[in-house]
Symmetry: C2
Subunit: 307 residues, 2 copies
């Protein structure tokens, strides 16, 4: 089993959806990634920062899932990154109501000595310079996966390009892929992004699934059509966590194995949206995950007969 | 091999895309459906109408593909249905510039005696009362597939509901499924539409693929990610033609076989968009189709290992 380093934000979130509201619950890219990856029994370590207002029992909960959390700095006189958002009726768009960076503003990541030799590094959505800093602390990771978003393309593109040049896999959504590449077709967009560094490009399309590109090869993972999406927060991070967790577990970073990794990420993300925040990830059992993986198989497999 | 009756429009189209223009070329739902279905060597018959301005050599061309075209009425002093449209840069949206119904306005469909006992009936997008008329002329079809659109939901919903009550399969796009059902989730939308008549609901999502629903079962067919979409006109009709052509060829109308039928429809549609109008469908060879089916297989197949 490979060790996995996760860098990302640890938040307090307030979420409003057409189904209700959740006030000041634990969230952030790192917990979703870590909890998703914990389904594969990997030895993972979260590098992040919180303030004195972050619930200690949630850190304990993550620890009980075999996630190393001592590397989450607790700033005693600081406040945790706070995000508040409201989802529209279609659940595909949302308004950000509040963003308070707080302790994240001066965050300087420190990877623990014992995790510097980890094989897999997952860079959750954060300032590119923080991501770069973590890359430089690692001794020789076999796989670096980057998640980022349009905000960094708009404001710190030069720094972001430096990170992109150093990673093996980038995961972004379709609009971000178009923005980053200047290409409308996702095939052309991914080809251009591969010239920037990553050998693998994962394009997330929300309810329309995800695409994996590598050289001239492509793989299409559907999203599971759901009767109800309760809260989409963390779906993308869960996807990334399932993807890297599965890869770290298997130690196989081939295109073929990434297909299965993406299906695992999609399956886990389909649970996250069923309840507020990390609630569903925390109650998830392995038989439930296996059953959903089988659903993905049924959803996509077919016979062709060349008549 | 089953016989296939196709009812739909036969048009003259003028198309403008970011890549160029095509002036007054043959089009319409029926030719796309017929040409797509002809890849499966079915005995098909188009029931439609044209004016004196429709190119006779195009009718001959369809005849040479084993499509019965004598059932296309030629109104000697009439003009063919004319449509002109312009696609936007994203190729997903278009403006209709001209719609001249012409001979379609008074069209009264007549199914030839020798095709009334056909097993499969494909109702291309047309006025619901014309579709109903054709259903009533058939003796006992084993499978009726309906294609329709929001225009008929807006203007002749009562008639459309009568048709929907009589068909086995309905194919519509995602927005239309939401409009028809009043449900946002496509899972819930399809369930509601199934209560209106069809046992199978196919939801077309353009570049995001297509979903097949039947009872509690689902199947997701991706669209092949393409570097360039040249002209999307006829993609949906080609999909429907490939779907029904494959089913007519195999005579197997089960959910399992419909999965393969949908992949065949998607593969054929991915060719249609490569050139203007029916051009690519006309030059298509079987080895090209087989190769693309294999691409769809590679695009979606994966192994799951339950670790």
């Amino acid at each position: 089993m490979s060790k996995l380093v996760i860098v990302g934000s640890v938040n307090i979130d307030s979420i409003e959806t057409p189904f209700g509201t959740a006030d000041r619950i634990p969230g952030g890219s790192a917990p979703y990634i870590g909890l998703a990856a914990s389904n594969f029994d990997v030895d993972s370590c979260i590098v992040s920062v919180v303030g004195n207002d972050f619930p200690a029992d949630f850190l304990e909960l993550m620890k009980s899932r075999n996630i190393h959390v001592d590397s989450i700095e607790i700033v005693e006189d600081g406040k945790t990154f706070f995000w508040a958002g409201k989802y529209h009726n279609d659940m595909n768009t949302r308004d950000t109501l509040v963003t308070e960076l707080n302790v994240l503003e001066t965050f300087s990541p420190v990877v623990p000595e014992s995790y510097k030799n980890s094989e897999v590094l997952m860079l959750g959505n954060l300032h590119p310079l923080v991501q770069l800093d973590v890359i430089e602390q690692m001794s020789e990771p076999k796989l670096i996966v980057l998640d980022t978003m349009n905000f960094w393309m708009d404001h710190t593109l030069d720094d972001l390009l430096k990170v992109i040049a150093k990673v093996d896999v980038i995961t972004i959504n379709d609009e971000e892929a178009r923005q980053l590449s200047g290409e409308y077709s996702l095939v052309n967009a991914s080809k251009k992004i591969m010239t920037m560094g990553p050998k693998y490009v994962v394009i997330k399309k929300g309810e329309h699934g995800a695409l994996l590109f590598h050289g001239d090869e492509m793989f299409y993972a559907p999203a599971l059509p759901l009767a109800e999406v309760f809260d989409p927060t963390g779906a993308g991070d869960t996807f990334a966590g399932g993807f890297t967790g599965y890869l770290a577990r298997t130690g196989d970073y081939s295109f073929e194995n990434m297909k299965t990794a993406i299906i695992n990420g999609s399956a886990l993300a389909s649970f996250t949206v069923e309840k507020f925040g990390t609630e569903r990830l925390l109650s998830l059992t392995k038989p439930e995950l296996y059953q959903r993986l089988q659903q993905f198989k049924n959803l996509t497999q077919f016979d062709i007969e060349l008549t």
